[in-house]
Amino acid sequence: MIRVQREDFDVGAEIARLSGSGKVGAVASFVGLVRDHAGDGETVRAMTLEHYPGMTERQLEAIEAEARQRWPLEDCLIIHRHGRLEPGERIVLVITASAHREAAFQSCQFLMDWLKTKAPFWKLEDTPEGGKWVDAKAEDDSLAERWQQRREDGCLPTDQ
């Protein structure tokens, strides 16, 4: 399931919702938060997340479908917020539930890596020198590419 929303979300409740069935032995999750400093050390007073309504949902759904195809997931959730957020506020939540922990961990990491490079969101940082669009990081591209490679190599996780 995917959700794109302005409002905050309840991490504990969402994790509990995906843990219910007796089939789930492993729930991995990731929460991304607004930091008070940018990568270059500059103070961040707030951040505004812009996105492309319609394409965002489409891309997130495609990413979720890809994860479900690669790993045996019992359940999967992606929530991404948009709008103005202050330091300490939650931006994104990804949860994956599986019988086994390796599938849960890997799919959660995969979802974040792909979301980071494919979901049409852009961050505008509010700094003492004014608004600054965050640059994409080369590291994020390489983190996403490792999953591409793994697929081409036929080298999927050990418990597949």
């Binding site: 997340l49 492309y52 991404h80 852009w122 961050k123 965050v134």
Partner: protein, 83 residues
Amino acid sequence: MKVLYFAWLRAKTGIGEEEIDPPAEVADVAGLIEWLKARGPGHQEAFKDLGVVRCAINQDYVPLSHPVKRGDEVAFFPPVTGG
């Protein structure tokens, strides 16, 4: 044809969304960008470095060589930075 701009491409063009009607010679994304650059200095500035411009047609990523046609929703934006 509807064109959307996001993030600093929106800021530079000064436009979030515009309806355009390019001539028939504009056949692909690269051609469309050339045509859009002629619309003013803001557009020219936005498309100065195509290495940091991404394009989606009808909400799917496409390369610069991808054809464009009437009725398409074409979006231009920088590499994404969500998550």
